[in-house]
């Protein structure tokens, strides 16, 4: 008898006509784990979450939520999960408490339990004094916290959050992280979270899966992922008018494991020895008569992991050029 995972995804595929949005992805999430799904827009993260949360049919493969196959026993799966969709969907005309109450009723939470659960959750997300305020008077961060509370009114075991901090200011983001940490400890939750903030994933997640073009390209703990990237330092250097073969010449330096040209004379170099490569690089530039416009040396971050596995950065302007256009439901995305 194999161990029962909180979430078990087995060879899951989602096709829209000829387009494969999710291509044969498998992973398991253990009880109590915080699992991060990373990937650029259109990589298939939301499609994956929607399949796991019974929102869209699975083309092939299967997903087990607390042992329940989402295709066979969707209602059993729905009762064990809380879901926070990407868009803010709380009713602006209703008060904080009314929003929570209606969802508690949709989950069949008995009246007595409803009151107790809502009181507790309002405390957890720090909205107790706003319980009678209309949702439209709340800030973006507060609304997000309300949605987090809304997803927990029925005491789910597994919590899905689709980009919970997108669009929030840095202070609100940190507040949401702390809140999630507290809630997880108090309620013994398993959390699956999608994000495209690397620092968020690094800080929150026990393990991270990187998804690109609908495929799982890497899966491990953040530390292990960082260690798996060859070279322990990243040098970013910008040169004035480098020659065409400059990339190859940079590659020939000792300890250098990869060089990427990012345009406008900017190169991203992974190396096992940051200081030595830096010295060598400056010497080489002086010798060739090329001016160094900027230079920075960093330890490997999840950004580098991402670049290593997907060949691109998570920055929005770069994503645009690469990202697939997933068949969108009109008006669904903010």
């Amino acid at each position: 008898m194999p161990e029962t995972y909180a979430i078990a995804v087995e060879h899951i595929v989602k096709k829209y006509g000829d387009f494969t949005a999710v291509d044969d992805i498998s992973f398991n999430v253990s009880d109590g784990e915080i699992f991060g799904l990373l990937g650029p827009n259109g990589a298939g993260k939301s499609t994956l979450i929607r399949m796991m949360t019974t929102l869209i049919p699975i083309t092939s493969g299967r997903a087990l939520i607390a042992g329940h196959d989402v295709a066979q026993e969707p209602d059993a799966a729905r009762r064990t999960i809380g879901v926070i969709p990407q868009a803010l969907t709380s009713d602006l005309d209703l008060t904080v408490e009314e929003n929570l109450n209606i969802y508690a009723k949709l989950y069949d939470v008995p009246a007595k339990e409803r009151k107790r659960s809502i009181d507790e959750l309002l405390g957890l997300v720090d909205l107790t004094k706003w319980r009678d305020a209309q949702t439209k008077t709340l800030s973006g961060g507060m609304r997000r916290r309300l949605e987090i509370a809304r997803g927990l009114v029925h005491h789910p075991k597994i919590f899905f959050l689709d980009e919970p901090t997108t669009g929030l200011d840095p202070v609100s983001r940190v507040a949401v992280w702390e809140m999630l940490g507290n809630i997880k400890n108090q309620r013994q939750l398993t959390i699956l979270i999608t994000t495209h903030y690397m620092d968020e994933a690094d800080r929150l997640c026990d393990r991270i899966a990187i998804v690109d073009h609908g495929k799982l390209v890497a899966l491990d703990a953040p530390m292990a992922l960082k260690a798996s990237v060859p070279g322990s330092n990243v040098i970013e250097a910008q040169f004035e008018n480098p020659p065409a073969d400059w990339e190859q010449r940079l590659h020939t330096m000792d300890d250098v494991t990869s060089v990427q040209h990012e345009g406008a004379g900017m190169y991203r170099i992974l190396t096992g020895n940051g200081s030595r490569t830096t010295t060598e690089l400056v010497e080489m530039a002086v010798e060739a008569g090329i001016a160094v416009k900027s230079l920075s040396v960093q330890n490997t971050t999840l950004d580098d992991v991402f670049v290593h596995y997907t060949g691109r950065q998570l920055r929005d302007e770069l994503q645009k050029a690469y990202a697939f256009t997933m068949p969108q439901r009109p008006g669904l995305q903010p």
Partner: protein, 370 residues
């Protein structure tokens, strides 16, 4: 059941929190009732009619006196006296006048000789309503002139004054059942159509779909909420509209009961129809674009503003299946004809069947997934 009522509760709370939307769904039909009721209900007044008297005899004078009495009383037209037939015709043609009456030379003599006396009428028939009003008024006038034993002016005065008593309100009353049905339709269009698709697009339904609510509970909850909003609109418009149009039948308890049943069934029928139309729609622009088309397609053939008996067969066929027709007929019977419930049970039955059938088609079409 609890989960279905949660959907209804949400919609109701939202409905009462945004009174502007509530008013919007009521004001449009009321404005239409007042404007159409007054614009179409009236008789033609103060049309300019040239009178060219080429005879000048005593019989021509009688006609001119009759015209003056029209000006003094019903005022369908104002006679403008011309000496010159040519000039009068020219002014009719270039729109300065709405018509011309020519009393030919030797008219009086022909009357006395009983030698087919004739008066010519020239009307601008590019405006049908105007020309037929003038024609009928003049025909009446000539008829009364031809009956010398009766005092024409006195007869005219009494006859015309009866028409004068309620010239506008009559049409407003006629419009009231249609406006009432329209009010419920607008409410359903906004509450059951636009808001439903907007919620879908905003991701509110995604929130519902991750809960264990069943498909049936969700569909019934959404339809019940839409119908309740339409019922509230219907009751309010029924009272306000009846008071505005001077319909007193609503104070009869049995009629009141009949109206309430009709309002409930109409609301259900309209809402399930709208739900069926919207069940697979995702784009929030679609219901807005459909609003005008549906309004024309369903409201106008229903007999709400013009009798069905005047329609060509294909339009009658639309009227036959249109739930509006049955709603308007039911309201008309109860509000204007003060009939008993027995006269409207057919309308009630059709609306019930219509609601059941549309919902029966919509439920399997409704997707429990995104």
């Amino acid at each position: 059941m609890n989960r279905m009522m949660a959907i209804v509760e949400r919609e109701m709370r939202k409905f009462f929190r945004s009174p502007a939307l509530m008013l919007a769904s009521m004001i449009f039909p009321l404005v239409q009732l007042v404007i159409l009721g007054n614009a179409f209900g009236g008789k033609i007044r103060d049309a300019r009619l040239a009178v060219v008297d080429e005879d000048g005899g005593p019989q021509a004078l009688r006609i001119r006196e009759a015209f003056d009495s029209v000006r003094a009383n019903i005022r369908t037209f104002v006679p403008v006296y011309y000496d010159n037939e040519k000039k009068a015709m020219e002014d009719v043609r270039n729109g300065k006048l709405d018509g011309a009456v020519i009393i030919p030379p030797q008219f009086s003599r022909r009357v006395y000789e009983a030698n087919h006396p004739q008066v010519a009428v020239v009307v601008d028939n590019s405006d049908n309503f105007m020309s037929s009003a003038l024609e009928s008024e003049l025909t009446d006038l000539v008829t009364s002139l031809n009956q010398p034993t009766v005092e024409p002016r006195i007869l005219q005065q009494t006859a015309l004054q009866i028409v004068e008593l309620y010239p506008y309100i009559e049409y407003m009353k006629y419009l009231l059942p249609g406006s009432l049905a329209l009010a419920m339709f607008v409410s359903v269009m906004i509450g059951g159509g636009m808001l439903y698709i907007d919620d879908k697009a905003r991701g509110v339904h995604e929130g519902y779909l991750v809960t264990p609510i069943t498909k049936l509970e969700l569909v019934l909850g959404l339809n019940l909420a839409g119908a309740i909003k339409a019922v509230m609109t219907g009751v309010i418009i029924c009272v306000i509209g009846s008071l505005m149009a001077g319909v007193s039948t609503i104070f009869n308890p049995l009629t009141m009961l009949g109206l309430l049943v009709m309002i409930i069934l109409t609301s259900l029928g309209f809402n399930t129809m709208m739900f069926l139309l919207m069940v697979r729609i995702e784009d929030p622009l679609v219901p807005r674009a459909m609003f005008g088309i549906l309004n024309t397609l369903l409201f106008f053939p229903s007999g709400a503003i013009y009798p069905i008996q005047a329609f060509p067969p294909w339009l009658r066929a639309i009227a036959k299946v249109d739930p509006f027709t049955y709603a308007v007929d039911g309201f008309k019977c109860l509000l204007l004809k003060e009939t008993t419930l027995a006269a409207v049970w057919g309308d009630m039955l059709y609306l019930t069947i219509f609601a059941t059938v549309t919902l029966g088609i919509a439920i399997p079409l409704f997707k429990r997934t995104l």
